[in-house]
Amino acid sequence: MAVILLMLARIAENIYWLGRYIERVDDTLRLLEVQEETASEADARPWSDVFQVSGVDHQGKRRGDVIEVLVRGDGSHSLRTCVRMARENARVVRDRLTLEVWTAINGFYLGLERRAPRADLGTPDILYDWIRERCDLIWGTIDNTLVRDEGWAWLSVGRQIERTNMAARTLLVMMGGLIEPDERTMHNWLTLLRFVSGSHAFRRVSSGTPRATDIIAFVMRSPVFPRSLAYSVKEAHAALKAAGHQETRAARRLMRLHAELDFLNPSQVTARPDTLLKQLLRGLDAVHSDLQEEIFGLEPVLMSREYNSAL
């Protein structure tokens, strides 16, 4: 039997979005969890930051608002919608997925629809733990059962682009008001690390008293931390190459973004983080447009939603 070497452009796009949506759930969940843990501390970030990172245009400022919109509700930015969109994309590419991956995604959708509307606002961590396990199960079954073909590469492209995007947006919002790195604000810099799930990794690679510039350098360009911006951009590029598209504009642009991050001077970042991060986000948008024009072609498929770029 012939090995399928070619992939439909439409299917590639659906798989790319599948990767993005699952990663978005994962990242939004981290955001909610860390906010929940740190909300009672002095200098806690306001809950509205979570809205801002997620691209939600909402006047609410309280914890209840955020949980209502992102967790219990089914508006366009909620976890439920992301999971539903992931599942819709998975249905379209059902013939490309193994039974294990499909049942993991479908089970996630069915379970979340049952649980989220009834979730206890007081102790959402039971639900969060469950969501975390589901995300891990999906990535685990993808890792363990999917053929390493072009489809797998597109999942990875989507996942890494989404991860970079979410991390950059998190940094952009959460670094607001933290411009002066000194002793007194050190605690806030450590909180920032938690928001990008980097505390553990940072402790492993740094020694002595942490400095703000170290933290910035770490989250921006660490070559060993899988959630650093440079790392995920590099992974996105590698995946695109694995899909056989190293000669495309999108791939070259990712290379350039990686080089820019790699050569970054941490003190530059503290001086003007907004400019740098916004530049990166614009670069990622351009990569997405490149993919659309060069590879996916046609009109965009139904199953996608870009962030509103109101940031």
Partner: protein
């Protein structure tokens, strides 16, 4: 569980006239008799959960996805009974293929007066643009679903032929999977059941065998109308099981009378297309101009011999309900054989004499619109009100070509389990016949559909029908 009920009045699949289980059902009845109600309900829950998680669903018009209802008690067909059915099905499909090929080419059967010209040329499924076309190996209907019912004597009759895009085969395979999860022991309890999972391989082999360029490893695709189609699950299932691409019309383009698909690395040639879209929608240049589901120019690629379509366009001429009464004659005509499977007695309402008789007896007959499927556009005389009969009579008189009348078949029954109760329900059987260059493959068993609404005769899933796992036994 007590499976016994009043089994008289209809042929019963499980129990004979004395109320005893038929020999091939004895072990099964014993097994189910041992199960408690709680046990059955537990297994029912297991089944529903498993279907929901796997996403084995179908979509009703304007409705959400529903799990395809599977009854817990299987249907059993003994080996010898099946052997005869299999021969009858292959015979029928051979004759039907010969007929379609004849209609679009020499038209011997028409010249020889076997089937009236007017019926053929006025058939909704007749496609004039296909005249003069010869598909590879002369096969037009590569996948056929032949609906069988059993009359009050237990004899199998053909109720209708489905030669366009028959669906339901994925449920046969999924039902078997679910049953072996829910009743693991049933399959090791002395029954040797023939496997059904050879179907995708057989289909793939048949599709590869009709490649237009004679290449050994052609590019085969499954064409679906898309995710909003009620049978999308099945389209994805078949593509996955065969290891071929599932495409939509927008993925395809015809250039220079050849078919290509848009891939991430440019255009790739397609050789065989297993389409799950009706004729009218496949090519907006020739058929419905408003169709967004097909590929403009596809027909030209087919006619140029650069791509083979399964089923071919135009097979609907042979499964027209007005052609149906002639199928036994067509078997004799083309094959010189006696039909193995009989038809249900049918009256052509276009014929004045038959119409007059039928119109008087409408309360005893089933009247069907010839172009409809899925149990729509149908009058069941004995169940109809006076007003419905008057209405239908008017419709028939206005357009007699569009209707046939059939004697009511007293469909056989089999026990179903539903919410703590066992009751008899009417069943039919849709076997699937796959035909390629090297002959026909018949899937062992097929889809048993069951009218879950007590007393109902309509088995279509769109109208409250369910299904049963169907076992064909090894000798």
């Amino acid at each position: 569980m007590n499976l016994a009920y009043d089994h008289k009045a209809f042929y019963d699949e499980v129990f004979d006239e004395t109320g005893q289980p038929r020999p091939h059902y004895r072990a099964l009845v014993r097994r189910f008799t041992d199960l408690s109600e709680e046990d059955m309900n537990e297994r029912g829950r297991l089944r529903d959960e498993s279907f929901a998680t796997l996403g084995i669903t179908f979509t009703l018009a304007n409705d959400l996805e529903r799990p395809f209802p599977l009854d817990l008690i299987p249907r059993i067909i003994p080996a010898r009974e099946w052997a005869r059915l299999e021969r009858g099905l292959v015979q029928r499909v051979r004759a039907l293929n010969a007929f379609v090929d004849d209609v679009y080419n020499e038209r011997h059967a028409l010249h020889d007066g076997i089937v009236p010209w007017s019926l053929v040329l006025s058939a909704k499924g007749y496609r004039r643009p296909m005249a003069g076309y010869s598909p590879p190996s002369g096969v037009w209907a590569h996948v056929a679903g032949i609906d069988l019912v059993r009359d009050e004597n237990g004899e199998y009759c053909v109720l209708e032929d489905n030669l366009r895009v028959p669906s339901g085969v994925s449920y046969v395979l999924e039902n078997r999977g679910a049953m072996s999860r829910v009743f693991p022991r049933l399959f090791s309890d002395g029954y040797r059941v023939r496997s059904v999972d050879t179907y995708p391989t057989a289909l793939r082999r048949a599709l590869a065998s009709i490649s237009p360029r004679g290449i050994t490893d052609p590019t085969v695709v499954v064409l679906t109308p898309g995710i909003f189609n009620s049978a999308y699950f099945e389209h994805a299932f078949l593509a996955r099981q065969m290891g071929v691409e599932l495409v939509e019309g927008r993925d395809l383009v015809v250039l220079d009378h050849s078919l290509f698909m848009h891939t991430t690395h440019g255009l790739q040639r397609v050789d065989v297309i297993y389409r799950r879209i009706d004729d009218e929608f496949v090519d907006s240049v020739v058929f419905r101009h408003d169709s967004m589901l097909g590929v403009p120019g596809l027909l030209s690629a087919v006619r140029a011999g650069n791509v083979t379509m399964a089923n071919a366009i135009g097979t609907g001429v042979a499964d027209d309900k007005a052609i149906y009464p002639f199928v036994p004659a067509l078997i004799r005509y083309y094959l010189g054989e006696q039909p193995i499977l009989k038809n249900v007695t049918t009256y052509l309402l276009e014929n004045q004499e038959e119409r007059d008789t039928a119109l008087k007896r409408m309360d005893q007959l089933v009247v069907k619109a010839v172009g409809e499927a899925g149990g729509y556009g149908m009058l069941i005389g004995p169940r109809a009100t006076e007003k419905e009969i008057v209405d239908f009579r008017k419709r028939v008189q206005q357009d007699p070509r569009n209707y046939i009348a059939q004697e009511v078949v007293k469909l056989s029954r089999a026990p179903v389990y539903n919410e703590g109760r066992v009751y008899p329900a009417h069943v039919d059987l849709r076997p699937f016949v796959v035909t390629g260059a090297h002959g026909s493959f018949v899937l062992s068993g097929g889809l048993t559909r069951v009218a879950l609404v007590e007393g109902s005769l309509v088995v279509n899933s769109s109208q409250g029908g369910g299904s049963k796992d169907t076992w064909v036994l090894e000798k």
